[in-house]
Structure formats: C-alpha cells, structure tokens
C-alpha cells in the first residue's frame, strides 16, 4: 500500500518539500557535505541548498565574496558523483538572497558546540539585528563585547566574553 509519507519539510526551511525517495537520498548525501570554512556544519545545516529534486538541486551562495563558494560547489558535485548521482544537475541561484534565518536549528546547535555564537532564528529581519549581544558559547554569559565587526570569514564577527574572558566568533545575522 502506498501510505502517505511524512513530508521532510524540515530539511530545507522555506524551500519546497522533498517529494520522493531519490530526493530524500540526495538530501542525505548533502547532509554529509561540510562547509569548508566551518566544517562542523553541513551545506544543509547552513541553508544554502534551496531545492532538491530527483534530477537537479539548487544552491545559493552565502556572501557574494565568500571564497568558499566554488569549493562548496565542487564538494557537492564530488559527493553526488561518488554516490552515483552524477546525472543530478547543480544549479546556482542568487535570488532570493541567502539569510542566516535559513540555518537549521540543528545547525545552530552545532555552531554553538563548535564555539561560534549562532544568530538567533528570525533575527535577520529584526530592526536591531546585530545590535543585541550574543551569548558566550563557552560559559553562557550575556556579558559580551564586540572586538571587530569582521572576523576570519565574511560571515563572522569577533567578540569577547567579559565573564570568562574568552574571545569567540559570532555568526553575523545576515
């Protein structure tokens, strides 16, 4: 019997639901492709995969100047080819522009565990984005201060915890 399957809409926030097994498998493969700059999160966690269909996937770059963009495309291509999905086309779309609101909850947890303060969900459109202080990913204190608006990658800013004195990266709201 063809029972109705539970939709996997949680995989890609805001994107069309995955419709069948092939797409499901592709999503599984992509969830093992890490971001080259922040390897604790996958390309799925980051929300840069915008659509998954049996014969094509659509990805979007994070920042226009992110030097990792081409590397990510190559990693995805490589993973698909290795898993026998070389017929799946890889397309790049700029619109709608990527936002940190598309980072999954799981991705946010992974970033925190890695020592990077994740952006609060839904904050990219808030009027005071990047104005509120992030929580220190090490000790949990809110007593933190910005050192530099630009960090080691385009997506991060440098912060310091006044409570435990440790510096940390903040994933910028974008």
């Amino acid at each position: 019997m063809l029972a109705s399957k539970a939709p996997h809409s949680s995989v890609i926030p805001g994107a069309p639901r995955i419709r069948n097994d092939a797409a499901d498998l592709i999503a599984k493969i992509l969830s093992d492709v890490p971001d080259p700059e922040i390897p604790c999160v996958s390309v799925i966690d980051l929300g840069i995969v915008r659509a998954i269909e049996p014969d094509r996937i659509v990805i979007t770059p994070t920042y226009t100047g992110c030097p990792a963009t081409l590397f990510i495309e190559q990693s995805i291509r490589h993973a698909l080819d290795n898993a026998g999905f070389s017929h799946v086309r890889l397309e790049v779309a700029l619109s709608p522009p990527w936002t940190t609101d598309w980072i999954t909850d799981e991705g946010r947890d992974k970033l925190r565990a890695y020592g990077i303060a994740p952006p609060p969900r839904g904050a990219a459109n808030a009027s005071l984005r990047n104005e509120s202080h992030p929580q220190c990913p090490r000790c949990g204190s809110m007593n933190t201060e910005e050192i530099s608006r630009f960090g080691s990658t385009p997506c991060k800013a440098l912060w310091r915890c006044r409570a435990c004195a440790e510096p940390f990266d903040r994933f910028k709201c974008h």
Binding site: P61, Y63, T64, G65, C66, P67, A93, L94, S95, P96, P97, W98, I147, S148, R149, F150, G151, S152, P154, L158, H174
Partner: protein, 250 residues
C-alpha cells in the same frame, strides 16, 4: 557595438572590481589586525559583486568573454569605473573617506537596482545590498572615530575627505546610457539618490564633528574611459599574470 545593458553591467562591475583591488592593497599592511580583516572582507565582497556584474556583461555582450577575461584583459581606456574608486589609498583616513563616500552611494544604488526590470541585475543587487550596508557602517564608524579623535586623526580624515570630494558628483552623473536604460526600467536614477546621500553623509560628518568639505570643481570622465594615471598602475599589478602568461589557469 556593445549592447547598452552590457555597458551598464560593466560600469557596475568595474566600480566594484577597482575598489576591491584597491582595498586588497591593504591586506597585511593595515594599522591593526581587526582593520586588516575588515578591509580584506570588504574587498572580497566587492570582488564577488564584480564577478557577478561582469558575468552579466559578458553574457549580454556574447563575445565569449567571461568575468575573468573582462577583468584581466581590458586596457585602462576600456574600464568604465567612476574616478573615486581608482584613487590611491593614501593613508588609512583617506582610504576610509573614499570607502565611506562610495559605500553610502552604493547602498542607495543597489537598493534601487534591486527593483530593476533586468532580473539578473536585480538579484545581484538584492544580495549585495545587505553586505554594502555593513561596509557603510564600518566606514561611517571610522569617520566618527577619526574625526572625533585626536588632532592628528582629525586632520588626516579632513584631508582625505577633501581629496576625495571632487569625485563625488561623478557617482550621481546621468549620461545618455543611464537615461536610456532608466527609461527601459533597467537602470537606476542616480541623480535622484543625491538628497538621500547628502542627508546620510551629513549626519555622519556631524557626529564626527566634521564640516562638509568645501565645494570643488567636479572631475568626471571615468564612465567614458578617461581615467587618472592611477588606474594604469593598478591594472599593471592586477593584470600582470594574465598579461605575462595569457590564459594561465591553476
């Protein structure tokens, strides 16, 4: 003849490319590590924008030139960036003055371009404007710190703004190409952005305890390929590899 849309995309791309190249000259030389990171990140954003805009120019032109070929194999006369972005870095204050004046303009321009009838330009603008807002905040913050800082920092930022000010009017200049594409719903009415730009710039200058620089005779010509000698030197460095080893890849 190059299609107007390709020329327009080239202008947008050249502004970003040349400023991105200028800023990257700071890499490893900035006054502090945090500043080095900031300027390199802004440069990366600009070069990313340039790659997209020049890609559109190459597609529309349909002569088989991609973004890299357009960046690395054109001569100075074929560049159509505004003169402001090719000005030398000078000291840190002069670099910040240039960045502040341009980012304030670019944020407005890209905000308007996001509603262009050309979907490719609109998509690039919609994405890039979020990043440029950051550039403007960074540069504006430094204008205030330098202007409202020590006597020396103030004197330097005043000199930087004064040097760059003569190139401001060109950013808002509308020539025949702009007017044609504006009529088609593709281009931005740059002249109409001036009041908003004036208001934003004045607000930051006032917070920085700085007066608006004295009016200067505007210098124009970049859009038509009439550049300062500085552009040639910039290109000789940027294009060296492709000039010496044409078609080299790695």
């Amino acid at each position: 003849m190059t299609p107007p849309l390709a020329q327009y995309a080239l202008r947008l791309g050249d502004d970003s490319l040349i400023l991105g190249q200028r800023l990257s000259e700071w890499c490893g030389h900035a006054p502090a590590l945090e500043v080095d990171l900031s300027l390199a990140n802004v440069a990366l954003d600009l070069i990313g924008q340039a790659t997209y805009f020049l890609g559109v120019a190459g597609d529309v032109e349909a002569k088989g030139r991609d973004a890299d070929r357009l960046a690395f194999t054109r001569d100075a006369l074929d560049f159509s960036n505004c003169l402001l972005v090719e000005q030398p870095n000078g000291d840190f204050a002069q670099t910040i003055a240039r960045q502040f004046l341009f980012s304030a303009f670019q944020e407005l321009q890209l905000g308007a371009l996001a509603s262009s009838k050309d979907e490719r330009l609109a998509a690039i603008a919609d994405k890039a404007v979020k990043e440029v807002t950051y550039h403007k905040q960074l540069a504006g913050g430094w204008i205030v710190r330098l202007g409202d800082g020590t006597d020396e920092s103030k004197q330097r930022v005043v000199a930087g703004l004064d040097w760059m000010w003569r190139f401001v009017d060109e950013m808002f200049d509308m020539d025949a190409l702009d007017r044609k594409l504006l009529k088609d719903g593709v281009a931005v009415d740059k002249a109409a952005l001036r009041p908003a730009w004036d208001a934003r710039v004045d607000a930051v200058l006032s917070e920085a305890t700085l007066a608006r620089p004295a009016p200067r005779r505007p210098v124009l010509g970049g859009r038509a390929g009439h550049h300062s000698e500085h552009l040639g030197h910039l290109l000789s460095e940027m294009q060296f590899l492709q000039r010496a080893y044409p078609g080299a890849t790695w």
